[in-house]
């Protein structure tokens, strides 16, 4: 009920006139006037309306005023309803007391003074209105208190949920800093129970290095009322320390006094570790960048980076700036001199490349790497260089081309070196020595033309194979010794015996060099087989010359007495005084003397039937001497096979030539005491050592053969296999004679069909003849004769 609301005024009287008069009196109050003509009607009205004042006639039929008031008072709703009794009759003090006891608040006696009634009703109406207002206010107040209480309860619940949900440790302390509450996270982290946490001394959970400082700063904040913040490690349930950022702020009451402290501790271990990691990464990154920059600058390769897709700005390292003749700090893209001319240009195949065809620009334009290629740099200052280079585009995080890098390497010197090496390789090919490169296992890696010529092996046949396996090398010392010498001294020189592709045995002077760390051994092998033969022949010749001089001395001392003795025997044998017996003795002596003379004449003396050489047919000569041997051949059962392909014309001295072939034929016949075949052949052929032709006379027998151990000795003087029958000088003399004609005697002896075949072959050059003034002594002038005697044994 508000102030303006009309109050209900219930008028109860059994007389309608009175009710009308009351209405007239109270009408100007402006309140709501309700009439009731009996107590019963009045009660009905009371239940219907909130009545402020009841005007109650005391004397009414059925229910009088007092009874009515008692009934109202029994109902709690009406206990405080104002009742004004109006009575014309009973207005004694008793009546009044009775009335007050019945709950009346006032009495008005008849005749009613309108102003009094009006005033009294007004007061009670107003009182009722005020009472009602108070009641409404009170209800509003109670509702508000209730609402507020519920809000507070919700807020408290939210705070607890929040405090337990946040990852931080949270706590509250009273104004003096005594912590009375921790959140759930605190218990989880510290492993402490709520009981243990109550009244906890923080020293127990602080690191001893930090405890004093932390506690002191906290204490200071409690006292000053200023917010607190500190970073320190806190021990967890496992006894490990984790770094926390802790803060506390004061909560103040309405008067500004600190009511409590609210604190949090935030775990920053991960943060600190992350910061540490980032710091390390940064340091590493800086180091990498520094390294890269250093590498760029010291790299002998020119490197450029285009920093934008338009190639407006390009940087380069030291090597590139030197290569291009540009200052290191200059924009490589816009390197122009003071006149605006480009500092350099790039050529390919002799053509100057336009800007969009340059490698870095092309990498940007195509978005693909430019493969390694060769260009020529031509600088404004006239310098040119051959360069090898490539370029690659750079992409941003969106995959767009943001620039490119290019790398360029000056290969001018390498190209020069390649040319030089090619020239050297050509030189190696020209060398007559066998030059080869092998590794330590003997595997061949290089084989020059000289090696091909010397060994007969094509390089394709031997490269990748083992040298010594190919050449069947025989080493002068153990191979291991040679290897260790090579490894320790870096070189080895010596002679090796090796075999050519066609099976010839050759001796090479080998110089081998090993360069440590290369795994390669260079070998230069020179064929000294012929040289060794020459040397051996020279030694033999010298020996023979010495023997010749010896023979000269001996001849003089023997021939002089021999002549005297011969003459003596001549005289003696023809002396008439000798009887038959004495003559017989003298003849025996003379015969033996003749033998001695014959030998000295052949070996120690000179023999020449003519001063001048004549044309001699070897065929005629052979036929003549074979004719003389017919009897011996028949006796021995030797068959003759002649094969003449030339008349065998030689300019020389028939007797000494006859002596050569008589020796050979004689030996052949003697080698076949039980028969066989004597093959005699004459042929002319082209020389193998010069442009001239040569005469080749062969005499072969199928006799006893020459034993391998004798093969090299058959041409030595006094060597004989015929025991007492031979002088051991025949072949030696024959060889001397043939050498005088600058010819050679060779022989081979090998088993064939259960027997042996022995072939002697005399080779005489046709174009060259012995000088006419040449002394006819068989050993004279031999120092000048090339070594041609060669004995061969084929052990097959």
């Amino acid at each position: 009920m508000n102030v303006n609301e009309k109050a209900n005024i219930l008028m109860v009287d059994d007389q309608p006139a009175k009710l009308l008069s009351y209405e007239a009196i109270l009408g100007e109050l402006g309140e709501n006037l309700i009439q009731a003509r009996s107590g019963r009607a009045a009660l009905e009205q009371l239940l219907k309306h909130d009545v402020a004042v009841v005007l109650l006639d005391v004397s009414m039929p059925e229910i009088d005023g007092f009874e009515m008031a008692d009934m109202m008072r029994q109902h709690p709703r009406f206990q405080k309803t104002a009742i004004i009794f109006i009575s014309a009759v009973h207005l004694t003090d008793m009546d009044r007391i009775k009335g007050y006891q019945s709950g009346a608040v006032d009495y008005i006696s008849v005749p009613v003074v309108p102003e009094v009634l009006r005033a009294k009703v007004r007061v009670f109406a107003e009182l009722h209105r005020k009472t009602r207002q108070l009641e409404v206010l009170n209800q509003e107040l109670e509702r508000r208190v209730d609402q507020r209480t519920r809000q507070l309860q919700e807020s408290e619940r939210q705070f607890r949920t929040l405090a337990n949900t946040i990852p931080q440790l949270a706590w509250m302390a009273d104004a003096e800093g005594r912590i009375f509450w921790y959140n759930q996270r605190w218990f989880e982290f510290t492993g402490l129970s709520p009981e243990q946490s109550q009244g906890l001394d923080w020293r127990q959970i602080l690191h001893e290095q930090h405890a004093d400082r932390v506690l002191e700063s906290m204490q200071r904040s409690w006292q000053n009322g200023t917010p607190w913040e500190d970073t320190f490690p806190i021990r967890n349930g496992n006894g490990e320390f984790c770094w926390f950022l802790s803060r506390a702020v004061p909560i103040r009451d309405s008067e500004g006094n600190v009511a409590r402290w609210f604190g949090t501790s935030t775990d920053i271990s991960d943060q600190i570790a992350a910061e540490e990691r980032i710091k390390n990464l940064n340091t590493q990154l800086e180091q990498r960048v520094t390294e890269l920059e250093t590498i760029m600058q010291v790299l002998p390769v020119g490197v450029t980076v285009a920093h934008d897709p338009a190639c407006e700005f390009m940087t380069g390292n030291q090597a590139l700036s030197e290569l291009l003749g540009v200052r290191p700090d200059e924009n490589m893209s816009k390197s122009l001199d003071s006149t605006g001319a480009a500092m350099y240009e790039l050529l390919q195949g002799g053509r100057v490349l336009p800007a969009d065809e340059m490698p870095v620009q092309r990498a940007i334009a195509t978005g693909k790497p430019v493969p390694t290629a060769e260009w020529e740099v031509r600088r404004k200052d006239g310098f040119t260089a051959q360069i090898l280079g490539s370029a690659s585009p750079l992409f941003d995080t969106d995959g767009m081309v943001r620039g490119a890098v290019g790398a360029f390497f000056d290969v001018s010197s390498r190209k020069k070196m390649e040319d030089l090496l090619r020239e050297r390789a050509d030189l190696l090919e020209l060398a007559s020595e066998a030059i080869l490169v092998r590794d330590r296992n003997g595997i061949l890696h290089y084989w020059n033309a000289g090696a091909e010529a010397l060994y007969g092996w094509n390089r394709n046949e031997v490269l990748g194979k083992s040298l010594h396996h190919v050449l069947h090398t025989q080493f002068p010392t153990a191979k291991e010794t040679i290897d260790s010498t090579l490894m320790s001294l870096g070189r080895w020189d010596g002679n090796l015996v090796q075999h050519t592709k066609d099976g010839r045995e050759i001796t090479v002077a080998s110089r081998q060099a090993y360069k440590a760390g290369t795994e390669s051994i260079l070998e230069i092998n020179r064929d000294i087989t012929a040289q060794l033969h020459t040397e051996e022949a020279l030694r033999r010749t010298e020996r023979l010359a010495a023997m010749g001089r010896m023979a000269g001395i001996i001849a003089h001392e023997i021939n002089n007495p021999l002549e005297a003795i011969t003459n003596t025997f001549f005289l003696l044998r023809n002396h008439p005084s000798l009887d038959d017996e004495a003559q017989y003795y003298a003849r025996l002596g003379e015969e033996e003397l003749l033998r001695a003379c014959h030998i000295t004449k052949q070996t120690l003396g000179f023999y020449r039937e003519s001063q001048d050489p004549v044309d001699v047919s070897i065929v005629d000569l052979l036929d003549e001497l074979l004719e003389l041997q017919v009897l011996r051949l028949q006796v021995s059962g030797v068959k003759i096979v002649k094969k003449y392909r030339s008349r065998g014309m030689v300019r020389g001295f028939p007797v000494e030539l006859k002596q050569v072939f008589l020796n050979l034929v004689g030996n052949a016949i003697q080698a076949m005491p039980n028969g066989g075949t004597l093959r005699v052949g004459v042929a002319e052929r082209k020389s193998r050592v010069g442009p001239h032709s040569e005469l080749c006379v062969s005499i072969c027998d199928t006799g006893l053969g020459v034993r391998p151990e004798h093969a090299k000795r058959v041409f030595e003087p006094f060597f004989s296999t015929k025991e007492a029958k031979g002088t051991g000088l025949g072949l030696w003399i024959s060889k001397g004679i043939v050498q005088k004609y600058e010819g050679t005697i060779q022989f081979r002896s090998f088993p064939l069909n259960g027997g042996n075949v022995t072939c002697f072959r005399v080779i005489i050059p046709r174009a060259q003849q012995p000088e006419e003034t040449e002394p006819s002594m068989i050993y004279a002038g031999m120092e000048d004769i090339p070594p041609v005697v060669r004995g061969e044994i084929d052990s097959r």
């Binding site: 023979a551 000269g552 001849a555 003089h556 023997i558 021939n559 002089n560 021999l562 002549e563 005297a564 011969t566 003459n567 003596t568 001549f570 005289l571 023809n574 003749l594 003379c597 000295t600 004449k601 120690l604 003396g605 000179f606 023999y607 002394p775 006819s776 002594m777 004279a780």
Partner: protein, 124 residues
Amino acid sequence: MIPGRIVILCVDDEENPLHLRKLVLQKSGFQVETATSAKMALDMLGFAHVDLVLSDQLMPGGTGTELAQQIKSQHPEVPVMLLSGVNEIPPDAHYADRFVSKVEGPRALCEHISEVLAKRGIAM
């Protein structure tokens, strides 16, 4: 000097061989004079008739070839034969008409003499 007989002057520094050679040649029908040195031989050529000089090659005081050279200049009509026991033909051997080994034997020696004389038109 008996007309018709060939006179050979034998020259040798050694007595025994010289004497034996003389006997052999005499047995073969030659008249033989002897000299024991080249000088002596030249002296004898100055006053005696000699058809052929047969000289040893190696002698002290002058070799056979030197003697032959001198004879060629002083008595070119006299042929010279040289006998040698050594096995070297000296470079000036061509001054002699023939150069013969000592060990050829008496018969061969006489044949050589006949041939040389025949070449000179002297018949035995």
